[in-house]
Subunit: 136 residues, 3 copies
């Protein structure tokens, strides 16, 4: 049995932002055992799971992906939407737009240090939409 | 309820190729609500979701992954299958071989600008096989 | 119908380690057709699928991710847990902590050359836990 739900995030600045709480508050009642699938409907942002304890980890993740896909690389052809755009597409494919997470005892079940992050790669990305699918 | 289906793609040249239409034409009738899982059965190619509008994005994605995993790196040990082989394995793990996508109103449901791409990392990769699983 | 199962891996040294056999031996009887979801409950390791034949591929994958997220980058802020820690978080987001794999004819169904790997990014990561979910 499958339930689907659309979640519209608030606007976030460029960077990695913890959204586990927002996701949990916007889901219907979860089954005892199941799977949660989150699908971000955009090509210049991503979803990832990483350390939720020290906020510096999120900053360093942003720094690291900026190095992997730098702005103003003279090799880029697709430059018309600004210097942050093509790097955003590259980072989106590297980190990916979907997550699949176990549901156990009626809750999203991750490891002690894990949290869900929206990775906003644009300077002004606006509100991002996620399709959440729960199956049991 | 689960249905599985094998899709054999045509041969593609090295690069990122839009395959949303091929996938849609080769799926059985989809449920109203569900999930589509695509699994590429290879280790030197990948699947990704990215911008489907400007074909230059696909070219720049190819350029970007070539920089991240360059050919002829003197640090590689596994070189016997040619200079494009080990970089292809690296890119395959970075972008991954599977996608999970919502099905809504009987159709694959992605964002306005999103499309599915085969990422062919070999110079002569041949025909690639995907196992498509639909669950409702 | 969903079944969930926790798998505790043995301690592995830093590097990419084939674990397909361990996973198979620790799963309950699989359905004829279905999906296996593996979720690694950690932020400094990852799961990936790659070539299972030549062990040099795993070595080169480790070399490649060390180059993508090098140690001792002066830009990192989160350095208190040692020089291997922040690079481990970066690699974990790049390769991701979960895999979804088809089940066909009662078995995990991957391509001829594909195997499941634990990517251990810490020098002393200890025993890692995976939540395995099977749905049919």
């Amino acid at each position: 049995m499958i339930q689907q739900h659309e979640i519209v995030l608030p606007s976030f600045s460029r960077g990695f932002h913890p959204i586990t709480g927002i996701i949990e508050r916007n889901l219907p009642e979860l089954p005892e055992t199941g799977i949660l699938h989150l699908f971000l409907r955009h090509t210049s942002a991503a979803l990832t799971i990483n350390e939720n304890a020290d906020p510096d980890v999120a900053k360093d993740l942003g720094y690291a992906v900026d190095k992997i896909a730098p702005e103003n690389d003279p090799g880029y052809i697709h430059t018309i939407e600004g210097p942050d755009d093509m790097p955003a597409h590259i980072k989106s494919s590297i980190l990916s737009v979907s997550l699949t997470i176990p549901i156990t005892n009626g809750r999203i079940s991750m490891g002690t240090w894990q949290g869900i992050f929206l990775c906003e790669f644009r300077n002004n990305g606006g509100r991002r939409r996620i399709t959440a699918t729960v199956y049991r």
